[in-house]
């Protein structure tokens, strides 16, 4: 059976994939975006985006909805519920993408599968999470269930601080624990956090140099075991819920054996032109080595991959040219 060969297949319709699709579609390339669930990915968990240039404030689902409309308006097709299991480089240089019963072929592929939240990996976490009994990875989703209760949140990045501030609107008391003595989040968020903690009768407590070593309770979360990493002092800290924001892990399990990955699962690429170990396959967004794990950089990666892809179509041998020999892209 004759099969359509797409110019480009993009795997994952988060910010990186939609950024890529916008550019490839506007270049009149036949663009198919395969999405496991629904467009957006992690950014759907965010209700407050203030660092996307040109947009003062928007929520994740809102931004994605408008990105999706924009991409589709230029002719890219998004297929939801397409769970890619395997890729294959064909003899003619094209790439086959297998998703369940369906297979697709493209001249080039942009991998933008994104990332998922990292677990803390302590006793009790899995058990209480599976039981829906007080462990959460989404403050926006679950803060309202903790009205007038006490919660502990864990982390020190942008997401941790934003979600902790969100939690203070609902919970009686929020304790943020962080394993270091300073936050890696944007300064403006740190300032807002500290201002909140310093209010008279604030419901926000910050504990630095502290890690959670276990989540405990009968049937539901009742306390967290905390340990000060400087003094090694331990305490059982009462709370009704634990919110975990300790970073992301790449969704690259399905790529093992196809492209080179690091031990941590990030896709190896040249970081300048986003070329992976397989010619014609680019990596964009949270999934790649060196990713800043930000909305804007994910979009930028997608756009960069879409630009470099044209160079590959023009001259496939370009794939093996070292970055150092390409201080300015040839032929532009």
């Amino acid at each position: 059976m004759a099969q359509t060969t797409h110019d480009v297949i993009i795997i994952g319709a988060g910010p990186a994939g939609l950024g890529a699709g916008l550019y490839t579609a506007r270049d009149r390339l036949d663009t198919l975006i395969l999405e496991k669930f629904m467009p957006g990915g992690q950014i759907n968990n965010t209700d407050r985006i203030e660092n996307y240039p040109g947009i003062e404030k928007i929520d994740g689902p809102g931004l994605i909805e408008s990105m999706q409309k924009q991409v589709e308006s230029f002719g890219a097709r998004i297929e939801n519920g397409a769970d890619v299991e395997r890729l294959e480089k064909l003899q003619n240089g094209h790439i086959a993408v297998h998703a369940g019963k369906n297979s697709y072929i493209a001249r080039a592929v942009i991998l933008s599968p994104g990332s998922s939240y990292r677990k803390l990996g302590v006793p009790g976490e899995e058990e209480f999470r599976n039981a829906g009994a007080g462990v959460s990875y989404c403050g926006t989703c679950d803060a309202p269930f903790f009205r007038d209760r006490e919660v502990v949140s864990v982390g020190g990045g942008n997401t941790a601080l934003e979600e902790t501030l969100h939690l203070t609107k609902y919970a009686n008391k929020v304790t943020l624990i962080h394993r270091r003595n300073e936050f890696r989040a944007e300064k403006i968020l740190v300032e807002e956090l500290l201002a909140k903690a310093n209010e008279p009768d604030s419901n926000l407590v910050i504990k630095y140099d502290t890690v959670a070593t276990a989540i405990e309770g009968q049937g539901k979360v009742q306390s967290v075991k905390l340990k000060n990493v400087k003094t090694n002092a331990e305490e059982s800290y009462p709370c009704d819920g634990v919110f975990i924001f300790v970073g992301m892990i790449p969704n690259t399990g399905f790529l093992q054996g196809f492209v080179e990955l690091t031990d941590a699962g990030f896709i190896r690429c040249d970081c300048a032109y986003l070329r992976t170990s397989v010619p014609g396959v680019f990596a964009a967004g949270d999934c790649r080595i060196g990713a800043a794990m930000q909305l804007v950089t994910a979009v930028a990666d997608g756009v960069n991959a879409a630009m470099q892809l044209k160079q590959y179509f023009r001259d496939p041998a370009w794939w093996n040219t070292p970055v150092s020999d390409m201080l300015s892209p040839g032929g532009w």
Binding site: K36, F37, P61, R129, A131, G132, C141, D142
Partner: protein, 114 residues
């Protein structure tokens, strides 16, 4: 009736729709402001279609139907319960990359156990 479509249930008809159902039931506790719930929605619609006649897929909007959510001590959304013959037999909280597979495994187990 297992109609092949998802059904919004309320505090008032939860017992008749879910507990008294003659086929296993998935109950999705969700809210409009929950991003992962929006991602789970099309998967649940697909499951309702695929399992037409064998399974009912119900949705509880926890903003409007607080009694049921409180009764079951919901603390995280989306949470999906699997009911059979009025008994809570399994559940999933949150949406992960393996969400659809995990949920189908639980549904298949519930159907096989009848």
């Amino acid at each position: 009736m297992a109609t092949g479509k998802t059904i919004e249930v309320t505090d008032a008809d939860f017992a008749s729709e879910v507990l008294d159902s003659d086929v296993p039931v998935i109950v999705d506790f969700w809210a409009p402001w929950c991003g992962p719930c929006r991602m789970a929605a099309p998967v649940l619609e697909k499951i309702a279609e695929e399992y037409e006649g064998q399974l009912k897929v119900c949705k509880v909007n926890i903003d409007d139907q607080r009694e049921v959510a409180t009764q079951f001590g919901i603390m995280s959304i989306p949470t999906m319960f699997v009911f059979d013959s009025g008994q809570l037999v399994d559940q999933i909280t949150g949406v992960t990359p393996s969400f659809e597979t995990d949920l189908k495994r639980k549904i298949d187990a519930a159907i096989a156990a009848r």
